[in-house]
């Protein structure tokens, strides 16, 4: 009990303390020339789905939830975004080599087909990011067609 009395204030101090540590925010108002939507002619409904379901972690502009400002959630999100962008960045897609574009499109389609993306932990909170079966079908058909044309 005595120990608990010491630990709780300590944790509280740590919790407050870490709130001061700045995180890098992934936000940009500029849509780069290399953005996916400028590289290809993307039907509006498809681009809309990408922006809703993918862009938060796979582009240079995240639409942050309010709780992002609280540590250690900020770190968690920052990490997810870093990983996501490393894997595949819609904002820089046009700058990729043809080889990379093709392979990324292939992975995009297979990740969606296998329900690996968007991640469950993400759609749990962002219910509008969920893709229906017909959404998925539309994306996969379109992406495959695009890949064949490259």
């Amino acid at each position: 009990m005595k120990l608990l009395k010491k630990i709780v204030p300590f944790l509280l101090v740590v919790f407050v303390g870490i709130q001061f540590i700045p995180t890098k925010r992934n936000q940009s108002t500029e849509v780069l020339e290399s953005d996916f939507s400028k590289t290809f002619t993307v039907p509006a409904n498809i681009q809309n789905m990408f922006e809703k379901s993918c862009y938060d972690c796979h582009s240079n502009n995240t639409n942050y939830p309010w709780y992002n400002k609280i540590q250690p959630i900020s770190w968690l999100l920052e990490n997810h975004i870093k990983e996501g962008k490393k894997e595949f960045n819609f904002s820089e897609f046009g700058a990729y080599s043809k080889r990379k574009q093709k392979n990324k499109l292939k992975s995009l389609a297979s990740q969606i087909r296998d329900n690996e993306m968007p991640m469950q932990s993400y759609t749990l909170i962002h219910s509008d990011a969920k893709l229906s079966d017909s959404d998925k079908e539309q994306i996969i058909v379109w992406v495959n067609k695009l890949r064949d044309s490259l």
Binding site: F20, I21, S97, R99, N103, K106
Partner: protein
């Protein structure tokens, strides 16, 4: 003011600490992969004596367009690691493929780019970037993902050979059922069909399309 300095100091400390951790992990995995390389070399049919060959090749200025006849052993370590992945996938071995992926990352890291001329360099960099990514995924993925990445990797290695050549005899085979029914190629050191895309499920699916060397 003082407070913000503390905060700054703390955060700097935190991030540098993170970075060193990462670096250490990286160098550890490098060592690991070097060990793997040696281990694999032991019972490999390897004839990669590429130090001497590199010297020979650097005197060659022009790129031989018909790379299938271009003898170049500088690509041997990369091809060996590719074949290790291929053979592991034939045997449905996820761990073996992952080991091959690590071997490949080492092989690319050890590749001497100074022998490339300007026109080769650009394409090499594109292949390198892509192949490295495929290899990284093969290291950490379940087997069905490994196979998906192996499809891309096969194209990369095939293009690498077209670009730089090899002194190995290889067979380019095609499985019409892989690549989601579009067909996909792979390379093998033997003529007999042993399918890496499906392994034991469809071991003899495919046919040889081309012999290299």
């Amino acid at each position: 003011m003082k407070k913000s300095i503390y905060v700054l100091a703390l955060s700097v400390l935190f991030f540098t600490a993170c970075k060193t951790d990462k670096k250490q992990a990286e160098s550890n995995s490098m060592q690991q992969s070097e060990m793997n390389m040696k281990e694999a070399d032991g019972h490999d049919h390897g004839d990669h004596d590429h130090d001497t060959a590199m010297g020979e090749d650097s005197s060659k200025e022009d790129r031989n367009i018909d790379a299938t006849t271009q003898k170049n052993s500088a690509t041997s370590a990369i091809i060996d690691s590719y074949l290790q992945i291929k053979n592991a996938l034939v045997e449905d071995s996820k761990d073996g493929a992952a080991k091959g992926g690590t071997m490949m990352l080492t092989a690319f890291a050890d590749f001497d780019m100074s022998q490339l001329n300007e026109s080769q360099h650009k394409e090499y960099m594109e292949i390198l970037e892509d192949a490295k990514e495929q290899a990284e995924h093969i290291v950490k993925s379940p087997i069905d993902h490994q196979r998906e990445h192996f499809e891309n990797l096969s194209v990369d290695v095939n293009d690498l050979i077209a670009l730089l050549g090899t002194d190995k005899t290889l067979y380019q085979s095609k499985c019409p059922m892989a690549g989601e029914g579009k067909g996909a190629i792979w390379l093998s050191e033997y003529k007999e069909i042993k399918n890496p895309f499906f392994g034991s499920k469809m071991i003899s699916c495919g046919s040889v399309e081309k012999q290299i060397n």
